[in-house]
Amino acid sequence: MPPPDLLSSQGLRLDGRRPNELRRIRCKLGVFTQPDGSAYLEQGNTKVLAAVYGPHQAAKSKSSVEGVVVNCQYSMATFSTGERKNRPRGDRKSQEMSLHLRQALTAAIKTELYPRSQIDIYIEVLQADGGAYCASVNAATLALVDAGVPLRAYACACSASMAWRGAQPEPLLDVGHVEEAAGGVVLTVASLPSTGSIALLELSHRLHSDYFEMVLSRAMQGCKDIEIVLDKAVREHLAEGWTKQDVVTI
């Protein structure tokens, strides 16, 4: 059972948020010129950069006639964590992260449109403060939008945990580093909120199946909230990049 002190008696969390409150998300599309698409996203103190190259001709060994090959690499800057990391990538955790990213993003990309092509998605975590996977998925989605890659819907990821408020179970949204370290359950969901489908679900620690539903629905609600934030950012980006004469060309 998770330690009960994740929630104060006033019902506030360790970092002062309410149970259903996301950390502040700030983001920007198109931060680099070289990649086809790029984005920067801050979720609380977790900061992530994403770059997308492609779709371009796939390497012969990877090429598939059925659809585009999605290639992901997750990497963490050596100064991103409290204790210095020795290697930015190549360790087991980041390889697993790469796989999970690929899983979630492939579900969103309309892969069947682009046979024999490849999309490279590179994630660089600049600062990790909990929920790095979620921030990576959200940043990658923005980078894909920036690159003009056709998507079924936004892919958003969010995590949720569980705490007790008295005898009442209370799911917590968007788990931060302190809460992660306190050792509660962490349920991570990557979903396409507008269709309601789940692309990836991961649970760490044990959670009684009675509460699973409740925690999941909170995480899904978080994905929906994140989608709204991302959508707003995309629209702002469009408005900024759209000059008057474009409309005339139609």
């Binding site: 198109g30 086809d36 779709p55 371009h56 309309k110 939008v145 890659v149 008057k244």
Partner: protein, 299 residues
């Protein structure tokens, strides 16, 4: 003699957005429903789900009769037959060249789609095949036209016209293809004495004017001519043009001969070409150009 060094702070960063108007078009974002299926056909940037046409990219909807497309702000080049492109030779293969055109797949230039020296209509012999690398080698730049689009989306190019073919000395700039305005003509001789090819694929080629018009029979002569240094005044104009295009691109403004020429004329108020690298100056030029374009449209 000291070089020129400037370091500015992030707090002084210039926002390159040229706010043009308050009336923004309706934007669609991925997964958003555009309309019911009944009377429309889906085009690029859309897909059908649950009897609805939905957008798959973020951009503006375009309707041509019953066809609905959503055009994203930026993407890889999607070629259409008849487009003028500038491309780079990646690989010499048997009977064809692979060309990089910023498309999703590499484009192809067949040996049968180029003009070979000595008459247009003759069979391609085995000798021609062996001479392919003499004609175009890896790294060379060409201008070409899209001949056809294969079923997988890759492009087949041809250079069977005198205006197309290998490009000589000059500067290439890469911008995203959606910034290129589709025009009848993409070859321009600008009044400042520079020839510019605004490829539909977002590759822009600039070179001094006379160089592209020479058609000599004597190959050595062409070779010699190609290797002549470009004089300083042409070089200066080209540098200025290049920086002007960069300024327009930073402000995400559409490129065609008139916008580039306006930017060039506005830039003349800055004497030194390297001043145009400064972000504030770039914004100024984009702003002035936008102003002139607006006043033309009002007329």
């Amino acid at each position: 003699m000291n070089g020129h060094v400037t370091i500015r702070l992030a707090s002084e960063r210039v926002n390159h957005c040229v706010a043009s108007s308050n009336e923004l078009p309706r934007f669609y974002t991925p997964g958003e429903v555009i309309s019911g299926m009944q009377d429309f056909m889906r085009g690029h940037g859309t897909y059908v789900e649950d009897d609805c046409i939905k957008s798959s990219v973020a951009g503006v909807m375009q309707k041509v009769n019953k066809l609905i497309c959503v055009r994203p702000l930026k993407s890889r080049y999607v070629g259409e037959i008849g487009d003028v492109v500038v491309g780079r030779v990646l690989e010499v293969q048997q009977k064809r060249w692979k060309i990089e055109t910023n498309s999703r797949l590499d484009s192809i230039l067949q040996l049968s789609s180029v003009n070979l020296p000595g008459g247009e209509l003759r069979r391609r012999s085995a000798e021609d095949e062996q001479m392919m690398r003499k004609h175009l080698q890896e790294g060379d730049l060409i201008s070409a036209e899209v001949q056809s689009v294969f079923s997988d989306g890759s492009l087949s190019l041809h250079t069977r016209s005198l205006k197309y073919g290998k490009l000589s000395q000059g500067v290439l700039m890469k911008v995203f293809p959606s910034l290129i305005k589709r025009r009848k003509n993409h070859f321009h001789n600008l009044p400042c004495g520079i020839a510019i090819i605004i490829g539909n694929n977002g590759f822009i080629w600039m070179s001094p004017m006379q160089r592209n018009v020479i058609i000599g029979e004597n190959k050595d002569e062409i070779q010699n001519y190609e290797h002549q240094p470009i004089n300083k005044s042409d070089r200066e104009i080209m540098a200025r043009l290049k920086n002007c295009v960069a300024a327009l691109v930073a402000a995400k403004m559409m490129l065609d001969d008139s916008s580039i020429m306006f930017a060039y004329e506005e830039s003349l108020r800055y004497d030194d070409v390297k001043e145009l690298l400064d972000p504030e100056v770039m914004l100024d030029i984009a702003f002035l150009t936008q102003h002139r374009l607006n006043s033309i449209m009002e007329e």
